[in-house]
């Protein structure tokens, strides 16, 4: 348990590069984080030394791979403090996780006239699956608005919940505003009315410690590639009581018990929801990523990330004509903004010339753009491997580029 930034950056050789002749400053962590060599090495080791398809095998490679895969599940279980590893389902990412719940929970529990609540600050991944499901089912989607600071209105939540509300889906951390939502409170309020809550943890799991038992959340989802792990792997945590009642989503191998053309019976969780060959190398890589995270003192990491955010906020606020979107009292390291008279695309293009990687555009959150009546934003997002010096370079770059317009 230590926090030595220089040592940490050695684990991420990608950071030590020049881009367009300038030292890379990678501030697009909310889009995808970088992977430490430990993750890559773990996956390589498997692919090059013990690769076998998992489950049902009698040979050594297949058994070793199965063990490693199930151990990765156990690592995730422990990271989330889930009751049992059967509650941890491997998916291809947050998007698939949420679609799985929208389909499967929807099929089991949502009927015409029922209601689903999301928030105005959701990523499209936590809107569109519910919209599509509501359309199929004749249900209604209701929306918790946020205020100018980017904080959800708890009053609105109270008045949106009705006897017809069947599920509430809320992001842990907004990928645009950075807002760390009061999910414990939301879950508590929902549970008073026996309504389950899904937390989109794509931006939460990489930065905050999660205890799904303490939170008592019903579903929690996140993506490997945003938590220092590989692409193509993600997690759906779900309480057994729901997962047991939900019908399978995808059909295929592994999720079945017995197939005949007349009647097919299904396997138990987690396998019921893991049709086909899972991304077992990805899962093993995700396990390595979580172990990597856990090798650092979380409170120190979090403090550093908060320092980066605060320093960046303070600096950027001094820039004339710069508007920050999202100033909630509790935030993760996400800082979105616009500079008057400069199109985000132009700014992003020019920052890239200076080696600085930020995201620009609509950030997969059209309703947030609409809320602020803007077409696009620039988003910088920080990870624990970023340095205060990088934030300073970023700030100086903005000052310099501003003179070009």
């Amino acid at each position: 348990m230590s926090f030595d930034l220089l040592k940490i950056r050695k684990d991420f050789p990608i950071l030590d590069q020049k881009v367009n002749g300038k030292a890379l400053v990678y501030l697009d962590n909310a889009a995808t984080s970088q992977r430490p060599v430990q993750v890559i090495e773990r996956m390589n080791e498997f692919s090059l030394k013990t690769n076998g398809n998992i489950h049902r095998a009698t040979h050594t490679f297949a058994n070793k791979t199965t063990e490693a895969f199930e151990q990765a599940r156990e690592i995730v279980r422990s990271y989330l403090n889930a009751t049992e590893s059967a509650e941890v389902i491997f998916t291809s990412g947050t998007t698939e996780s949420i679609n799985l719940v929208a389909h499967s929970f929807g099929d089991a529990f949502i009927h015409e006239g029922d209601e689903v609540i999301v928030t105005e600050m959701e990523h499209h991944a936590n809107i569109v699956p519910w919209q599509m499901m509501c359309e199929r089912k004749g249900a209604k989607l209701k929306v918790i608005p946020f205020n100018e600071k980017g904080e959800l209105s708890m009053d609105a939540l109270d008045s949106l919940i009705t006897g017809k509300t069947k599920i509430i889906a809320v992001t842990h951390v907004s990928n645009v505003l950075g807002t760390l939502n009061p999910i414990a409170t939301i879950i508590e309020k929902a549970h008073l009315k026996n309504i389950p809550v899904l937390i989109d943890g794509a931006q939460g799991a990489p930065h905050f410690q999660i205890d799904v038992q303490a939170l008592d959340c019903d579903f929690y989802t996140f993506s490997g590639h945003k938590i220092y792990g590989p692409t193509g792997i993600g997690v759906l945590y779900g309480k057994r009581k729901w997962l047991d009642q939900m019908p399978p989503f995808l059909g295929g191998g592994e999720m079945i018990d017995r197939v005949t053309f007349g009647k097919t019976t299904f396997n138990e969780i987690p396998y019921k929801f893991e049709a086909g060959t899972p991304n077992y190398v990805g899962a093993i890589g995700l396990g390595a990523a979580i172990e990597y995270i856990q090798s650092h003192d979380h409170s120190v990491v979090l403090k550093h990330e908060q320092n980066l955010l605060q320093f960046a906020t303070k600096k950027l606020k001094t820039i004339n004509g710069l508007t920050i979107y999202g100033e909630a009292s509790k935030k993760a390291g996400v800082l979105s903004f616009n500079i008057e008279g400069i199109h985000p695309f132009d700014l992003g293009t020019l920052l890239d010339q200076l080696g600085i990687a930020v995201r620009t555009g609509r950030l997969c959150a059209d309703p947030v753009m609409d809320h602020f009546s803007v077409e696009n934003m620039v988003r910088s997002s920080f990870s624990f491997y970023n340095t205060l010096e990088e934030v300073e370079v970023f700030y100086q770059a903005l000052i310099r580029l501003k003179t070009m317009f």
Partner: protein, 143 residues
């Protein structure tokens, strides 16, 4: 003999074999020699379904001890089942709950009890313990 003594006996029996082939030959022999489960018990309710091999397990509780009958369709599994019955059948619930089948590990066949193996063996051990737990509860209640 206690469960532990029998386990030790088994471990010693296997210790003589250097070659894995001999070990497995013995298991196959044990499997072949094993009395089949009474047909009336070879039914779906008694089936513990592994993905590859199946195990049928029947139990009876009499005078404080549990008698198990079991069978598997795979011979190596059946041999291991024979050994498990040897140590666990005819024991009190308490004895069953208090001991782990460590011999499997020690004779070098640990992989057969791995949860990822799904040959039905691990599930069978769990099932035996569940029965033991149930009968233990019943008997303490009756006392």
């Amino acid at each position: 003999m206690t469960i532990d003594e029998i386990q030790q006996e088994i471990i010693d029996d296997f210790a003589g074999f250097e070659d894995w082939m001999d070990k497995y030959s013995l298991l196959i022999e044990l499997g072949n020699e094993m009395a089949p489960i009474d047909v009336q018990y070879k039914v779906d309710e008694n089936l513990i379904r592994g993905c590859q091999s199946r195990v049928w397990l029947h139990q009876e509780y009499l005078d404080g001890t549990i008698t198990f009958e079991a069978e598997s369709d795979a011979l190596i599994v059946k041999g291991l089942v024979a050994l498990l019955l040897k140590i666990y059948s005819g024991r009190t619930p308490h004895e069953i709950l208090a001991s782990e089948p460590r011999f499997i590990d020690e004779i070098g066949l640990r992989q057969h009890l791995s949860p990822t193996r799904s040959n039905g063996l691990l599930a069978m051990v769990k099932q035996m313990k569940l029965y033991a737990l149930a009968y233990e509860k019943i008997s303490t209640k009756n006392n």
